[in-house]
Structure formats: structure tokens, C-alpha cells
Amino acid sequence: MNSIVYLTRKAEFAASHFYHNPDFTPEENQRIFGKCNNPNGHGHNYLLEVTVKGQVDPRTGFVVDLKQLKEVMSKEVLDAMDHRFLNKEVPEFLKSIPTTENLAIAIWQRMAPKLKTAELHRVRVYETQDLFVDFYGEA
């Protein structure tokens, strides 16, 4: 069978951030980012869902080596971001704003080259229960 199967693994991490663009005036930062502009930061419990896709290996019955997926999520995302201040401790966000959109893109870019046996399909990041972003690697 050539059936494509999608597998999703979840992970949770807690991190702080704030939104500020030095190219904007203080007034613009306040107007655009509102309370997220507080320079002392604030935090979230982020829920990450990583979906990979592929054909089921006839010998193992697996679509992906779950152990390797878990290791990549742990090393590339959780070790770098869990209990961190995203603006100051994650290199991507020294130059871009750690919005949920940019977080989803950064996680995709960290994970995609490291996955050996699976093709990344979607990165979904929940900032709260009522807000999430999906990234499919689209240009």
C-alpha cells in the first residue's frame, strides 16, 4: 500500500517574551503591540504539535521513528526554548519578534533539516487555548 499517514506528536514548553521593534517609535510599538510591548516580558505555556507524514514501513509498521522525532523536538525546541526568555536567549529572536507566527517558522526551520526518517508536514503552536498558528513550510 502507498498510503500516506500523518503522525502528530505534542510537547509543552513555558517561555517568556515581549513584542518590540527598534525600527518603530515608542508610540508605534505601543500602538501596534499593546500590552505585549511591556519590556519586562510576560509568559505562556506553549503547546507544540509537530505533524510528520510518510508511508508506513512494511517491516516496522511505523511512519516515522518516534524516538528520533522526540529527540529532535527535545533538542531543537525544548532545550532551546523551555523556561527561556525568547527575546534574549533564542538567537532567531535577537533580530525578529517572537510572535507565535515567527515561533512556528523558527521551529520548522530548526526541525526540518534534522529529521532523517520523516517529512515534516505541519508545525502548530498554541500560545493559548484560543490562539494557534500553523506553518506548512510555505514560502
Binding site: 513584542y19 507566527e101 517558522i105 487555548q129 490562539l131 498558528v133 506548512y136
Partner: protein, 140 residues
């Protein structure tokens, strides 16, 4: 780079599923307990998905304050704590969650210009949900 942002909102409303073109017996057969003449209510959860390129300056697809403001004013204030059957859009249409989903999609699609509307998804209860994307293309 293109990303998709989904925001979840809530409202509470009542409705009754009934169509005058059917007989009373047919209405009871088709709509079951949803045909109760006195109506009943739900806590509706609305998921609005918008998409677009992530702006290099703001890191955003669109400002959430703008989306929240639009949905609050045009959708939540319209439907929250209302009886759907007495609203003009349901004068001729049965207020099923299918029709509600299409109606809310069209409200946002025609009025919110700051991002592309991908989909409206409504949970009527924890056990059922409805989605409308304005096309017949499969959802991602």
C-alpha cells in the same frame, strides 16, 4: 512566509430547527428534539482561521487586536445571547450550525480586509463541529 493563524471565540445562543415547508410530523422526524417548539441553546465555539505572509516588521499575519475587534463587533455582538430564529438571516433559513457557519464566514469574508479568511469552524457541542472554507477544496 505564509502562515495560518486561528483564533477561538465563544457565544451563547438559542435556536429551534423547524421549516414551515414541512408538516409538523415531518419536522419532528427530521429535526428530532431540536424541533422542540420552545427552542434550546448552545455555547458555540467559533474558530476563525486567517492566512497570509508574516510581516517582517511586526512578525504578524495581521494584528490580533483588529481581528478580535472585528469579530467582537460583527459576529459576537450579533449572536451572543440571542435567539437565532428571530434574526433576519434566519427568517427564511433554518438556523442549523451549517447555515450559521456559512453566514459567519460571509460576514468576515466581506468585511475583514486585513488578512485572507481561510476557514470558519464552529463547535456546536463538544461532540460536533462544522467547517466552511467558501470552496469545495479539501481542508489542510
Amino acid at each position: 512566509m505564509k502562515a495560518y493563524l486561528t483564533r477561538r471565540y465563544w457565544f451563547a445562543a438559542s435556536h429551534r430547527l423547524h421549516n414551515d415547508v414541512f408538516s409538523d410530523a415531518e419536522n419532528r422526524t427530521i429535526y428530532g428534539k431540536c424541533n422542540n417548539p420552545h427552542g434550546h441553546g448552545h455555547n458555540y465555539a467559533i474558530e476563525v482561521t486567517v492566512s497570509g505572509p508574516v510581516d517582517a516588521g511586526t512578525g504578524m499575519i495581521c494584528n490580533l487586536v483588529d481581528l478580535d475587534g472585528f469579530v467582537q463587533k460583527q459576529v459576537l455582538m450579533r449572536y451572543d445571547r440571542q435567539n437565532l430564529n428571530v434574526l433576519p438571516e434566519f427568517a427564511q433559513a433554518v438556523p442549523t450550525t451549517e447555515n450559521l457557519c456559512i453566514g459567519i464566514y460571509e460576514l468576515i469574508q466581506s468585511g475583514f480586509a486585513l488578512a485572507h479568511l481561510e476557514r470558519v469552524r464552529i463547535e456546536e457541542t463538544m461532540m460536533n463541529s462544522f467547517e466552511y472554507s467558501g470552496t469545495s477544496e479539501p481542508l489542510r
